[in-house]
């Protein structure tokens, strides 16, 4: 059964407008990314039916929840969705168990990922079931909120900046659980965020929103490697690659293999075979026409120039490269681009000065 999502909303208010028309994949994590005021939360709330968007349309896998033509608007409580808010919003008058069973008791079907024991285990909250929300840490509360949403047997999980209210330590505590959800859940997750690192780490599909409009929507790297995005998204330009841990070498380096070649990073704790996501910023990639013979930069891959575009940083250009099918971005000075005669189709070497591992 396909779970593909269609969402079309138009909201016009005095100080804010939203105008989106999205086709989103029915699997994996779709990130709605944008700065505050970009409309990402409003868009998510419209999907949940918490925000009225007259004239809108929302359907998931053929199940229509809102349709302007037929005047259909399924109220939130009749939509098979799970929602996690920025603050955990647990019910303070119920125990953790009471909270997570709240939706389960009312759901029409069996949760896709099992009952209370399985979901409690998935989120590591099994030992908290008899506690009161007031006795939990922020990170624990948010995990309970996620479990509560999942037990309501949703067809789609909506998450509104679930980590934004947490400090760094709590964020790092929750991220592995989100990655687990990503691996183990069959339902799509719509994840609203304004943190590039979270998006790079979790998302498969990325929607960029700016002032209520969709700037770009597509597979994570297809969007990240675009060089024509507005300045608001361009200063942090960079791509995400998925690499497999291939070997831990004697000199405290770990060798990672990805489609486009090999990269070395400082020794990692993960076992061989683990898939890691790494982010490579455009500003950390430099270009050379011949393989550099005497360079301290270890990571160097063969690449072909796809295209290039000026950036908003004066005197710089953004070059999109093709590394055996994987995109890579490099930000270099215009002078270098002219000196090396960088043009589409040119084969060269890309030196990667730094790799940010996202796990």
């Amino acid at each position: 059964m396909s779970n593909d999502i269609r969402a079309r909303f138009r909201i016009d208010r005095k100080d804010f407008s939203l105008d989106v028309d999205l086709a989103l994949p029915g699997r994996g994590i779709t990130a709605l990314f944008g700065h505050s005021g970009s409309g990402k939360t409003t868009c998510l709330r419209a999907m949940a039916g918490l925000e009225r968007a007259p004239g809108g349309h929302f359907a998931i896998g053929g199940e229509v929840w809102q349709d302007a033509a037929s005047g259909l608007f399924v109220p939130t409580h009749r939509r098979a969705l799970g929602m996690v808010f920025q603050e955990a919003s647990l019910f303070p008058h119920l125990t953790v168990r009471g909270n997570i069973e709240f939706g389960q008791k009312r759901a029409a079907s069996v949760p896709p990922a099992g009952g209370v024991p399985e979901i409690a285990d998935l989120l590591g909250i099994g030992h908290l079931l008899e506690r009161r929300p007031a006795e939990l840490s922020g990170g624990e509360r948010q995990r309970v909120a996620i479990a509560r949403a999942l037990l309501a047997a949703p067809r789609i999980l909506l998450m509104d900046e679930p980590l934004a209210a947490l400090d760094l330590k709590r964020k790092l505590e929750i991220l592995p659980y989100l990655e687990r959800l990503h691996r183990e859940l069959a339902i799509p997750i719509i994840y609203v965020s304004h943190a590039p690192d979270e998006v790079a780490r979790l998302a498969d599909h990325l929607v960029l929103l700016d002032q209520g409009k969709v700037v770009a929507s597509g597979a994570l790297n297809a969007v990240l490697s675009r060089i024509d995005l507005p300045a608001a998204f361009a200063d942090d330009a960079g791509v995400v690659i998925e690499a497999t841990v291939a070997a831990h070498e004697a000199d405290d380096l770990t060798r990672l293999e990805f489609t486009g070649g090999t990269i070395f990073v400082s020794r990692r704790p993960e076992a061989i075979g683990t898939v890691l996501r790494c982010r490579i910023h455009a500003r950390d990639v430099s270009l050379a026409l011949v393989p550099p013979q005497q360079s301290s930069i270890l990571n160097c891959v063969s690449a072909v120039v796809s295209d290039l575009a000026p950036t908003d940083t004066p005197g710089h250009v953004l070059v999109r490269l093709d590394v055996v099918g994987e995109p890579l971005l490099a930000r270099i000075t215009r002078r270098s681009a002219e000196r090396l005669d960088i043009r589409p189709g040119l084969a060269l070497r890309a030196q990667i000065k730094a790799v940010a591992l996202l796990a």
Binding site: G49, S89, F91, H93, F102, R106, A107, A149, A152
Partner: protein
């Protein structure tokens, strides 16, 4: 204490209990509506509910007397229905007291509903709870301190009323003669000992009620 005094105490407790129950039943939807509505009528309804806070009981009693009297619309209705006239009866006293104590029940409950905010109800909706379900399973439990305050204040305020009882209920033993009126009668008759018993009892009762309210009513737990 003489039997007339005991009858007055019993009548007072009966009146306050009935009135409190009725106020919880009718006041809760009003409080819910006032807490959640964006209607322009909110100000008007809120002001009407609060009127007994500022009006002398005699004014309220006067108009209720006229409305429920033989020439008033309510009086004609009750007579047409074969119920007779309400003034100077226990049911008449109950109705007058409900109006008089309305703000003391509605306002604490309304404040409690407002303090809950939108979020827990939105969460309940995303967990498949219908609005009716969410009201009972989320809003009412979270507003419990407000219900407690409202019930205690409504009860105590009904016990303490005097002017409106005289206007609507008169002074009929075992029917409308409540403690406050009985005390008045004792003082008029210079029966200070009996007056002391009842008046002292009222002071102790009121103090205990307020003590309970301030001690046991938990400060509203933060909505997580």
């Amino acid at each position: 204490m003489e039997s007339a005094d005991l009858a007055a105490v019993w009548l007072t407790l009966k009146l306050a209990t009935v009135v409190t129950l009725l106020l919880l039943i009718f006041g809760t939807p009003i409080a819910w509506w006032l807490a959640r509505t964006h209607s322009r009528l909110k100000g008007v309804v809120g002001a009407i509910v609060a009127l007994p806070l500022v009006l002398p009981p005699t004014v309220l009693g006067f108009y209720l007397l006229i409305t429920m009297g033989p020439n008033g619309p309510v009086g004609r209705l009750t007579e047409a229905l074969g119920l007779g006239l309400l003034p100077f009866t226990f049911p008449g006293l109950v109705i007058a007291s409900v109006f008089y104590s309305l703000p003391f029940v509605v306002q604490p409950i309304q404040n409690a509903f407002e303090a809950i905010g939108e979020r827990p109800l939105e969460v309940a909706a995303t967990l498949r709870a219908s609005p009716w379900d969410a009201f009972w399973s989320v809003a009412v439990p979270l507003a419990r301190p407000g219900f407690l305050s409202g019930a205690i204040l409504g009860f105590a305020h009904t016990v303490g009323e005097f002017g409106i009882v005289l206007m609507i209920g008169g002074n009929i033993p075992e029917k409308t003669r409540v403690v406050s009126v009985q005390i008045y009668d004792h003082v008029e008759a210079l029966e200070y000992t009996q007056a002391h018993w009842l008046a002292g009892g009222m002071v102790i009762f009121s103090f205990l009620v307020l003590l309970g309210l301030y001690t046991f009513n938990p400060t509203r737990r933060k909505v997580l």
